[in-house]
Amino acid sequence: MRAVGVALAIALAIALQTTLARFVIRGTVAVDLVLVVVVYSALTNGPVTGLLAGTFGGLVQDSLSTGVIGIGGLAKTIVGFLAGIVGTQFIVAQPLPRFVVFFGATVLHAAVFIGLYELLDLRQFGAPYAAVAGQALGNAVVGVVAFQIVELVPGAIERRRMARTRTRR
């Protein structure tokens, strides 16, 4: 059931990515929603879910792009697995540690992704430090906000319901 939820979240992320990216394609696209979902799954469910989510999400992204199928999958697998280990070994329950994890995960993902392409002499990326930093920042903000929404919304709805019940009495 959890696997289905993660798969659906990745599918939704890809749908959003392909829809939203169209409107920001001119500048540097600052968010990789699939990576956000992979890190989120890893932090909440552990390394196995993280690596499987990374494999699935990365391979789907690879198959939809014009690059080599497997490079994005490998990068996201590593990131998902390590993020899952971080989630189980450390307390990552506050916005700041989560921000750091999302930021670091994006940098690691870019290092593996770009490194493999450069190593295999398939693409030249130059010095994409600004682009990677921008994407890491974007992913970290989206990730932290996603955590906050998931954690705060159910409580807020419950409080609102309770308040309404009191008013009626």
Partner: protein, 285 residues
């Protein structure tokens, strides 16, 4: 039972990680070419099995040689070998003549295509963008059913958009000219200086291989030269934004694309003349 298996997998996360990584490496190796131009996986597999085949073949050939050379009729074998060699030489000559004829036909067709001035296009609507931020692609709502093929040029009223890279039945993926792997033959409209417009991965293009002595100025219009066999000649790519001297015999030229890729909604796919590669393939069949 399934719960026990799940717990088992979770306890062996490291093994699962290694297995998945190995799977990815095999997958990548199957697609990436070695120095010989063959996929790495194929090269390694072929290399291993070739040695097995070599050994097996040597044993079989030895047994056959003993049998046919000494046990069987000796003279017949020698005569047969000579005839086989003659036949192989004749077949080789035939292949060579056929290849020459095909090549001539292909060149004739290409020249014929080049002479056609009018382009046949089909309009397509953009239905999506690339799934990953690292590749600049778009998805359009026309595919092979509408006559689209790989390497067909995609243009907009403002200028060149890119080329079709993956056509499916009812949709096609378009690689934008600003993608890092994209390139198009280009020339400066005013001075006719030739170069290659290459995607930089962001919103700008680089015009490469323009000689240091060429006449290029900021604001010059860059158009397609048509030498790549994909983009028809004379379509606007963009305007020169910066010109610098690199010192390596070529200028460093930055070009701002004429097309605003963030506001594209509809494009035109040039379905005729067909891409040069296809034309060459077609003539070879």
């Amino acid at each position: 039972m399934s719960h026990v298996a799940l717990v088992d997998i979770r306890q062996r996360a490291g093994y699962l990680f290694l297995a998945v990584m190995l799977g990815h490496i095999i997958l990548i190796s199957a697609q990436v070419n070695a120095r010989s131009g063959v996929p790495v996986l194929e090269a390694v597999t072929f290399g291993v099995f070739a040695e097995v085949q070599r050994g097996t073949s040597a044993i079989v050939a030895g047994v056959r040689a003993v049998w046919s050379g000494y046990v069987s009729l000796r003279q017949v074998r020698i005569e047969n070998d000579a005839l086989k060699q003659q036949l192989a030489a004749a077949q080789f000559d035939l292949q060579e003549q056929r290849a020459l004829a095909d090549r001539s036909r292909g060149l004739e067709q290409l020249l014929d295509l080049r002479d056609r001035a009018s382009l046949r296009t089909t309009a397509a609507e953009i239905i999506g963008a690339g799934a990953t931020p690292d590749f600049r692609t778009l998805t359009i709502d026309k595919g092979e059913r509408d006559g689209l093929r790989s390497d067909m040029a995609v243009i907009a009223p403002a200028g060149v958009v890119g080329r079709v890279v993956v056509p499916s039945g009812r949709a096609a993926k378009v690689q934008l000219l600003i993608d890092r792997n994209a390139a198009a033959g280009a020339l400066i409209e005013r001075s006719r200086a030739q170069g290659v417009a290459v995607g930089a991965g962001d919103e700008l293009l680089r015009l490469e291989y323009v000689a240091e002595v060429s006449d290029v100025a900021v604001g010059d219009v860059v158009v397609t030269s048509g030498i790549d066999g994909i983009f028809p000649k004379g379509f606007i790519i963009g305007r020169v934004e910066a010109v610098e001297k690199s010192g390596g015999g070529y200028k460093e030229i930055t070009v701002r694309p004429a097309v605003d890729f963030s506001r594209l909604e509809e494009v035109l796919v040039v379905v005729s003349p067909m891409p040069a590669a296809e034309a060459a393939d077609g003539s070879g069949q």
